[in-house]
Symmetry: C2
Subunit: 356 residues, 2 copies
Amino acid sequence: MAIRLKDLAHHLNLSVSTISAALQNRDDISEATRLRVFAAVKKFGYHPNSLARSLVTRKTNVLGVIVPDLSRSFFAEVLKGIDSVTSTGGYNLLVCNTEENASREEEMLRMLLSNQVDGVLLASAHEPSNSAWRKVLLGLSVPLVLIDRRLPGLNFVGGDDSGIGFEATRHLYSQGYRRIAHIAGPHTVTTAVGRLSGYRRALATLKLPLNDDLVIESHYHEESGGYEAMQRLLKLALPPDAVFAASDPIAIGALQAALEADLSLPEDFGLIGVGNHRYGRFLRVPLSTVDQQRSQIGHLAAELLLASMDKKRLRPKSILTEPKLVVRDSSNRTGVSDMLTASDGTKRNAKHAARR
Amino acid sequence: MAIRLKDLAHHLNLSVSTISAALQNRDDISEATRLRVFAAVKKFGYHPNSLARSLVTRKTNVLGVIVPDLSRSFFAEVLKGIDSVTSTGGYNLLVCNTEENASREEEMLRMLLSNQVDGVLLASAHEPSNSAWRKVLLGLSVPLVLIDRRLPGLNFVGGDDSGIGFEATRHLYSQGYRRIAHIAGPHTVTTAVGRLSGYRRALATLKLPLNDDLVIESHYHEESGGYEAMQRLLKLALPPDAVFAASDPIAIGALQAALEADLSLPEDFGLIGVGNHRYGRFLRVPLSTVDQQRSQIGHLAAELLLASMDKKRLRPKSILTEPKLVVRDSSNRTGVSDMLTASDGTKRNAKHAARR
DNA sequence: CTGTTAGCGCGTTCAA
DNA sequence: TTGAACGCGCTAACAG
């Protein structure tokens, strides 16, 4: 089929091993034969068989990436961020989509290991309470970095969810909103838990009462979830005057419901989401949001993975990107506060924190 | 390191080939030993080394995918569509991002071939006029399917761009707009060329004059491109009363400019984009668009690839998905026409057409 | 039914 | 400076 090293050797009257050495630019090969070899390579369109090579070198230069949903802009952007650093290092990406299905995830991981990937990046669909799965991951023979969703004792790169919740809530407070509700993501996802805890922490810090009626759990990625949650909130005896939505899609749904209820933002009502979706600023009411720095998450995760491939057995590390408040009309009642933070487009360093 | 077939053999006092046969569920292995083998596999956590297997079977169960930009929602959704069918067939995806860079694309393709992928899906960043590249693709030793951007003589799955341009333009006409401009994508991308030609075809069919001032080439994926193009159009002595934008991002930029110029849509001005972006309906003015059926493109491309892997040397096939008009406020002046088409959410069959 | 033998394409000794 | 021999982990003949 394709041309092999052996075929080249035959054409050049050289041995296979000589050609192999020449291709690796080893210095124990004469310049003359090196040139002959390269000429032949070009002439015959030879390209090495990575399978055979990897079989002996025990390195595939392939990394596995497992995400719950490739089409979600978050993961798409993280993936691109990952690729931008791994491809520079000569790595290829074997990409898997779990559809948020835990057993599919296990299957994909097995597949990746079968394929002898040099490392794995994983945004897990397992519930964090699943300790069996955590044990599997801890026992993995290849370096692993979790993305977006954390698990104790394992490498992790993601947003500072608690910080996100805190900042968002604090921002709404600073704009004069006092009855701040939260539409949360599913409690089975660590990011949602983190954002909720940040919200609670902020309320406590601000001496606002903690009212369970004002917290509604919803879907993360469907506008309808935010829409329905918002409708429920508005039916309350004492409805909120602001909502911190755990995601931009939730916020968009909530916005829809708020507008239909003839609320005007930001006067009557404040709203902020998370994710800094590309089109947030083009919405009916430009949407305030907290940017968790997606592509940087990808970069950092890839770098951490490459680093742990270099030096095996590093202490597990947690890297959180710094949340950046992006204030737009939906919550900007005073027209002043926080704008410094919001317009600050320069990159900041991520906050690095060793686990425990 | 990891446990090998040989190790299992040793533990079970069986030969390597027996275990191999048992794992493949071949019927010339006794049920008893089959069970023993599977028990041992589970016990030791054995998983086969795909590299070694593929080296001899000459099949990797890996497909290569090359796209210009993973973070673009179009490619992200197409990729997900691809994965949904390939993963069902037991294939893994080696995903590459070219950043719209032709030489990177060549490098990635080489890498994929080195990795012995069983097939390739490619949305090429090369200019269609580059016949050298076309020749490379024609000479490829593995099945190839082009996505989104076509090249003569090669398998292709994508939107019916000319149809998209035609439908969009015809729709604006049906809403009473008569001076219809087009903000096009780069002429180096076949989709942009197709949409432009569809626009021209529609104008000709509708007996509208073809005015070159009303066609502006822009960026495909940056709102700023549409924004600037729109500003130029509005400065014309006889500005247009409607715009067919070659993409939703262009349309969003154009919308921005139109609103800033105090135009009200759809009364003063009609606007339609392409892509049916998820958030099109949540914009300041809900955006009309033409849906090219992204995930279906992924499905069909993957199916075509798998088919051409089965029967080598099929005639090259071109599959175009049917454009679906989605009418929203930005162009809906009459409130009636085309709504049937727009609200028709049921899937239609793609139009299949053999090349030439 | 099971084991033996022979590669798959390449990298890596070690002699020559 | 080059080449022969061996092995990476596995599958696929063919014997027994």
